[in-house]
C-alpha cells in the first residue's frame, strides 16, 4: 500500500511537465495551429527557468522567465505559420532543433550546478483524505496550479465567449472571419500563450523536479505531449489522465529498475512509447469517428483572407 501510494504520487509529479505541455498544445491546436516544436520549447523553458532561478536565487522568477521565453518562441511559430503561411510541421521540427541547440549552447555553463527549487506543501484537510490526499494533495504549487488550469481551460473552451471564438477559428476560419473575428490575431494569441505553458512544463523539470540542468533533459517528453493531445481528444481532463498514466509508467519503471528486476533497462524504457502507440491505436479504432470529430477541422491549415479554396 505504502509503495503504491508513493508510486502514484510520483506518477502525478512526473506527469505534471507533460500535462503543462499537453494543455499548452491543446490551447494552440484548438485555434487551428499545430505546433510540433514542443520538445525545443520545453528545453528552452527548462534552461531559462533554471538559469534565472540560479542567477537570481528566486525560482518564481525562473518560472516566469520560462513562460516569457516560451511566449517568444510561440511568437516565432505564429509569425511563420499564421502570417507567412509556412508549413507547420517543418516549422515545428525547426523549433525542436533550434531549441535543443540553443539550450545546449546557452546552458553549457550551468552543468553541474544545483538550485534550491520550490518545496512542496500539503493542502490542509485535503491531504488527510485516504489515498487521494497523499497522491494529489501533498505536492507542490505547480502541481496544484495544473489542476486549476485543467478546470479553467475546460470551462474556457465550453462556456465562455472567447473560448468559443477560439474554437470557431480552429474549426472554420472562413466563417469566423465572416463573423468579424480577427482570425490571425486570435491564432497569434493562443499560439503564444500555449507555447508559454509548454515552456512552463519544461521549467517544472529543471526547477522543481530535478533542480539541475542537463542537455536535452526533457528526453522526448515534448513529443509525448504531442501524442497526448490526440490521446486526450483535445479535452483537458483527458489530458490530465494521459499525463498521469504516462507519469505512472515512468515512475513504475524507475521503481523496477531500483528494485533490480531481471528485465533489461532499455526494454523497460520502451514501455511508455509502446503504450503511446497502443493507446493511439485503440482510440483510433474505438472512437475513430470521435477523433476526427474532436480534431479542430482547420488544424494545420493556414488561412488567407483573400484566397478561395
Amino acid at each position: 500500500m505504502e509503495t503504491l501510494v508513493s508510486i502514484l504520487a510520483a506518477a502525478v509529479r512526473s506527469g505534471t511537465p507533460i500535462l503543462y505541455a499537453t494543455l499548452g498544445e491543446i490551447l494552440t491546436e484548438k485555434c487551428g495551429v499545430m505546433n510540433l516544436g514542443l520538445e525545443g520549447i520545453m528545453l528552452m523553458g527548462a534552461f531559462s527557468g533554471f538559469f534565472v532561478s540560479l542567477s537570481t536565487g528566486n525560482p518564481w522568477l525562473g518560472l516566469a522567465a520560462a513562460f516569457g521565453v516560451g511566449m517568444c518562441l510561440g511568437l516565432i511559430h505564429a509569425f511563420i505559420s499564421v502570417s507567412l503561411g509556412g508549413n507547420q510541421v517543418v516549422c515545428g521540427l525547426a523549433m525542436t532543433m533550434f531549441g535543443g541547440g540553443a539550450s545546449a549552447l546557452m546552458g553549457r555553463g550551468c552543468i553541474g550546478m544545483t538550485i534550491r527549487g520550490i518545496d512542496g506543501f500539503s493542502i490542509p484537510w485535503f491531504s488527510e483524505l485516504p489515498l487521494v490526499g497523499r497522491v494529489f494533495f501533498s505536492q507542490d504549487v505547480m502541481v496544484y496550479a495544473s489542476y486549476a488550469l485543467v478546470v479553467v481551460l475546460y470551462c474556457f473552451f465550453t462556456a465562455t465567449r472567447p473560448g468559443m471564438n477560439l474554437r470557431a477559428v480552429g474549426e472554420n476560419p472562413k466563417a469566423a472571419d465572416a463573423m468579424g473575428l480577427p482570425v490571425a490575431r486570435i491564432r497569434y494569441l493562443y499560439t503564444v500563450l500555449g507555447a508559454g505553458l509548454v515552456a512552463l512544463g519544461g521549467a517544472y523539470i529543471s526547477v522543481i523536479y530535478n533542480r539541475f540542468w542537463a542537455e536535452s533533459m526533457t528526453a522526448g517528453r515534448g513529443w509525448i505531449a504531442v501524442a497526448m493531445v490526440i490521446f486526450a481528444v483535445w479535452n483537458p481532463f483527458q489530458a490530465a489522465l494521459g499525463a498521469y498514466l504516462f507519469g505512472g509508467v515512468e515512475a513504475f519503471q524507475l521503481r523496477l529498475q531500483a528494485a533490480g528486476t531481471s528485465v533489461p533497462t532499455p526494454l523497460l524504457m520502451m514501455l511508455p512509447y509502446v503504450m503511446t502507440i497502443l493507446v493511439l491505436l485503440f482510440i483510433s479504432i474505438g472512437k475513430g469517428r470521435r477523433v476526427s470529430l474532436s480534431a479542430p477541422a482547420a488544424l494545420g491549415a493556414p488561412f488567407h483572407r483573400e484566397e478561395r479554396e
Binding site: V89, M97, F98, S216, V226, P266, S292, E307
Partner: protein, 360 residues
C-alpha cells in the same frame, strides 16, 4: 499606408534559387548574432566550420562521409513527403536496418562477400520497410497520425538497439563500451580511394537518379504527387490512397534501413549505441531544402554534412556542445520557411488610394 500580400500566379524559377540562398545567408547572420551574444566569436566559429569541412581533400572526404547517410535518408523521407505523409521515423528505420544487418552478420556469417552483403542489405531493407510499414498500415487503416507513430517507433528502435549492444551482443573485450564485436571482413562494404567513403556512394547515385525518374516520369510517381497535392482529386480519379500509403512507407523505410546498414557495414564495422548522429532528423531538413528534388538533395546533403563536420570541429576546437550547430539548422529552416512566402506572394505597399491595390 499598409503592406499587402498578393498571391503570385507563377513564380519565376530564379526566385527559388535567390530566395533560398538569401534565406540561408540570413540564417547564418542570425546565428552569428546568437553566437556573439553567447560570447562566441561568430567569425572564428564559421571559419572553423568552413576549414574543417572544406579545408583539404581529407576534410572534403569526411564531409562526404556525413553526406552519404544524410542524402540516402533524405531520399527516403522525400518519397513520403511527396505524398504529404510525414515520416519522422527515418531515424528509427535506419536503426532497425543496422540492427538487422548486425543480426545477419552474427547469426549467418558467410564466406562470400557479395552474398553476405546482399543478404545484409536485403534484411535491412525488409526490416526497415516493415518498421515504417507498421506506421503506414496504422495510418491507412485507422488513420493513426503517422507523425506520432513513426516518432514513437524511433524511440522503440533506439531502445531495442541499446538492449542488444548493452546486453546479449556486447563485445566482452570492448572494455564496457556498448558495441558488438567487429564484423567479419566479408560483411564490410569496401571503402573507396583510400578514404572512409564507402561503396554505398554508387548505390546512392543510382538511387537518386532512379527516384528522380520514378517520381517525375512514371505514372506511379505522378499519382503520388497528385495524392500529395490534392487528395480529393486523387480520390475522385480512383487512386488507391490506402495502398499507396503503405507502399510508400515501406519503400521509404527500406531505403532508410539500407542507409543504416551502410553506416555500420561501410563506416563503423560494428554495431554500437548512438551510431547515427541524428541523421534521420537532419535528413528532413535536407529533403525540405532541396524542394523534394532527388538530385538536388545530394548537393544539399553535402552542405549540411559540412555543418555536421563543423559542429564536431566546434566541439573539439572551441569546447562548444555538439548540439550547437542545431541552432544553425533550425534557423536555416525558419528562414527558408519564411522565404517561401516571398515566392508564393508578392508584397506590395498599399497607399490606401481608391482603385489602387484595393481589389479583392
Amino acid at each position: 499606408m499598409k503592406l499587402r500580400a498578393e498571391k503570385r500566379i507563377d513564380s519565376p524559377a530564379w526566385m527559388t534559387v535567390v530566395v533560398t540562398l538569401a534565406s540561408v545567408c540570413l540564417a547564418f547572420v542570425a546565428g552569428g548574432v546568437f553566437l556573439y551574444l553567447q560570447g562566441v566569436s561568430p567569425l572564428t566559429a564559421y571559419r572553423m566550420i568552413l576549414r574543417s569541412a572544406f579545408g583539404s581533400v581529407y576534410d572534403l572526404s569526411e564531409t562526404a562521409v556525413r553526406a552519404l547517410p544524410l542524402a540516402t535518408v533524405s531520399l527516403a523521407v522525400m518519397l513520403c513527403f511527396t505524398m504529404l505523409i510525414w515520416n519522422i521515423g527515418a531515424e528509427g528505420q535506419a536503426f532497425i536496418g543496422a540492427l538487422t544487418a548486425a543480426a545477419v552478420v552474427r547469426y549467418f556469417p558467410m564466406e562470400d562477400r557479395l552474398a553476405m552483403l546482399s543478404l545484409m542489405a536485403l534484411a535491412a531493407a525488409v526490416a526497415g520497410g516493415f518498421w515504417a510499414g507498421v506506421a503506414g498500415v496504422l495510418k491507412a487503416k485507422w488513420n493513426v497520425s503517422e507523425i506520432i507513430s513513426t516518432l514513437m517507433l524511433n524511440y522503440i528502435a533506439i531502445r531495442l538497439l541499446e538492449h542488444f549492444v548493452y546486453g546479449p551482443w556486447r563485445d566482452p573485450s570492448s572494455l564496457g563500451f556498448p558495441m558488438t564485436r567487429p564484423f567479419i571482413p566479408q560483411a564490410r562494404l569496401p571503402q573507396l580511394w583510400g578514404t572512409r567513403i564507402h561503396m554505398g556512394l554508387y548505390g546512392l547515385l543510382i538511387l537518386s537518379a532512379f527516384m528522380w525518374l520514378a517520381l517525375k516520369k512514371t505514372r506511379w510517381g505522378y499519382e503520388i504527387r497528385i495524392m500529395g497535392s490534392n487528395a480529393r482529386a486523387a480520390h475522385y480519379a480512383g487512386m488507391n490512397y490506402a495502398r499507396s500509403v503503405v507502399l510508400v512507407m515501406f519503400l521509404s523505410g527500406a531505403i532508410a534501413g539500407i542507409a543504416g546498414m551502410c553506416e555500420v557495414s561501410g563506416l563503423q564495422g560494428r554495431l554500437q549505441a548512438g551510431f547515427s548522429a541524428q541523421y534521420g532528423y537532419t535528413a528532413i531538413i535536407v529533403a525540405w531544402l532541396s524542394h523534394l528534388n532527388p538530385p538536388l538533395s545530394l548537393l544539399v546533403a553535402f552542405l549540411i554534412g559540412a555543418l555536421l563536420v563543423g559542429g564536431e570541429a566546434l566541439q573539439i576546437g572551441m569546447g562548444l556542445p555538439l548540439a550547437s550547430v542545431q541552432i544553425l539548422q533550425g534557423l536555416i529552416l525558419f528562414f527558408v520557411l519564411g522565404g517561401e512566402f516571398f515566392y508564393n506572394y508578392r508584397v506590395r505597399l498599399d497607399f490606401g488610394r481608391p482603385g489602387f491595390g484595393g481589389e479583392r
